[in-house]
Amino acid sequence: MLIAALLIAVSVGSERLAFFDLSDTQRSILFDIRLPRVLLGACVGASLAAAGASLQALLRNPLAEPYLLGVSNGAALGTMLAFVFFEQFFFARPLFALAGAGLATFTVYQMARSRAGMNVERLVLSGVIVTTFLSSIIVLFTSLLDAARLRGFTFWLLGDLSQATMSGFYLTLAASVLGTIVLRSQARPLNLMMIGERDAMDFGVEVGRVRLIVFGIASLLVGTSVAASGSVGYVGLIVPHLVRLSVGSDNRLVVPLSAIAGAIFVVLADTVARTVIAPRELPVGAITALIGAPLFIYLLRRN
């Protein structure tokens, strides 16, 4: 399915491409523009969905999502700082994004937990507060940019794959594969933590260590994704939810399958974003949010 989605996505666009007899221009569109974009989209989708699935299990909350928890905005602010102050270093963006994502995760977690544990409302509220706070700082910084860069940046903030490059893809690929493997290795402890942190401790899980690994890796995945493509929202919410509907709650299945399904989802969403108003484009984040926000409301009501 993933391969089919990749093929469709590479072929479809404002310039329709066959797989044979390409002209030089078409070849260039295929290899320099479309292929990196589609591949990057797949990695971003995999990263965000795997991170979302694991954060949900860890926080015992199916509504936990990197974008809503402020993790994506943390990464976005980090990327922005790198962009403004260290534009010449290739690794500055992902590194700052990772730091921003980690800080945001830690802050939301500390705000949401109380002596009585953590409830849905506290978590969502803390996420909203951190997200809006970070947004306002981001807006502050955007006002420093000139008009030409501003439009690119606004698109990027909403989640945009149009700036994809092969070097960005390799980095995101490495992070998404490694990150998903590590998260999958924590899937069985996460199964216990999904029941309850105290239960998990009682039955032999080193809760603190699992929490540290999952927060760290989720920050890495979100950080590299955001650095490459901005904040593509709701992927980490929609995809694990659909995966759980079909295979149940076992994280040993949910985490890797979410990564695969997330890749498919973002690739298809980006294909839609590129084609609905072609030759103009929408940011892919707009498409994912259009699907994700109603689902979030539905899940919240059902809770």
Binding site: P62, R188, D202, F203
Partner: protein
């Protein structure tokens, strides 16, 4: 097996457990009794290392508890506590298999033996045919039995039970204690049970600890501790004591 020496637990400025010592022998059920807020649950939590001690020491099979990993502790001690609701559709079998976490590879899949142990435990708890049901859709009493099944599936030498019969009907209350009794007898295990049902404690426990204000008020063989004076002093209520005609054990009746 489990040796508790002069432990104290503080929550901030408040002393919750004060200088408690317990020796838990093989094959026995020890009932932990006392009014609300006496520190029973905190004491139970301290015994498997999930609540930190201020002073004192706990030894598990001769080894200091604080030097053991969560995994090593969980291999020896299983807990039955009040289950909190989960928002994920976890099946009864998945929940029960959590008890097998310390067996085999942590990151892999359960073995057939694990699944067999879980299914056996479910059967013992009168839950045959429940394996694929979702936890959220069960009644409180059914869930409580799954929680016991998870602890039994862990096949540990020590069971810690925090009000295991709170949601159960009469027949399942008896079943719960019979299962714990059998496990202690057949597998030379031992159990510490918190309960408010003095008559169940009287029927099934060899020894009783009466806890009041974080301190041990009385401990010893069940019939010696369950006296009118002790109960009236600890619970601050009038009670009548006589003999259960079926078992010959002490029977406690509250005077309202």
């Amino acid at each position: 097996m489990l040796e508790v020496k002069e432990i104290s637990v503080w929550f901030g400025e408040r002393k919750v457990i004060d200088n408690v010592s317990i020796a838990l022998g093989s094959g026995e059920i020890l009932a932990l009794l006392g009014p609300n807020g006496a520190g029973k649950t905190t004491l139970l939590r301290a015994l498997n290392g999930t609540v930190a001690l201020k002073s004192g020491a706990i030894a598990l099979n001769g080894a200091p508890l604080e030097e053991l990993s969560r995994r090593e502790i969980a291999r020896n001690i299983a807990v039955v506590a009040q289950e909190n609701e989960t928002k994920f559709p976890i099946t009864v079998l998945e929940f029960t298999l959590a008890g097998r976490f310390t067996r085999g590879a942590a990151f892999g899949w359960e073995t057939e033996h694990d699944v067999e142990a879980a299914n056996n435990a479910l059967e013992m708890c009168d839950l045959s045919g429940y394996a694929k049901r979702v936890m959220n859709e069960l009644s409180g009493g059914e869930r409580q039995r799954v929680v016991l099944a998870r602890a039994l599936a862990a096949e540990t030498g020590i069971l810690l039970l925090d009000e295991p019969t709170a949601n159960l009907d009469l027949a399942h209350q008896a079943l719960m204690f019979r299962l714990v009794r059998e496990r202690c007898r057949d597998a030379a295990a031992s159990a510490i049970v918190i309960t408010h049902d003095l008559n169940l404690a009287s029927e099934f426990a060899e020894r009783v600890i009466l806890l009041k204000g974080g301190q041990i008020f009385a401990q010893g063989p069940t019939a010696q501790v369950l006296t009118r004076e002790n109960l009236q002093e600890v619970y601050d209520v009038q009670v009548l004591l006589d003999e259960n005609p079926a078992s010959g054990k002490v029977r406690v009746t509250t005077v309202y």
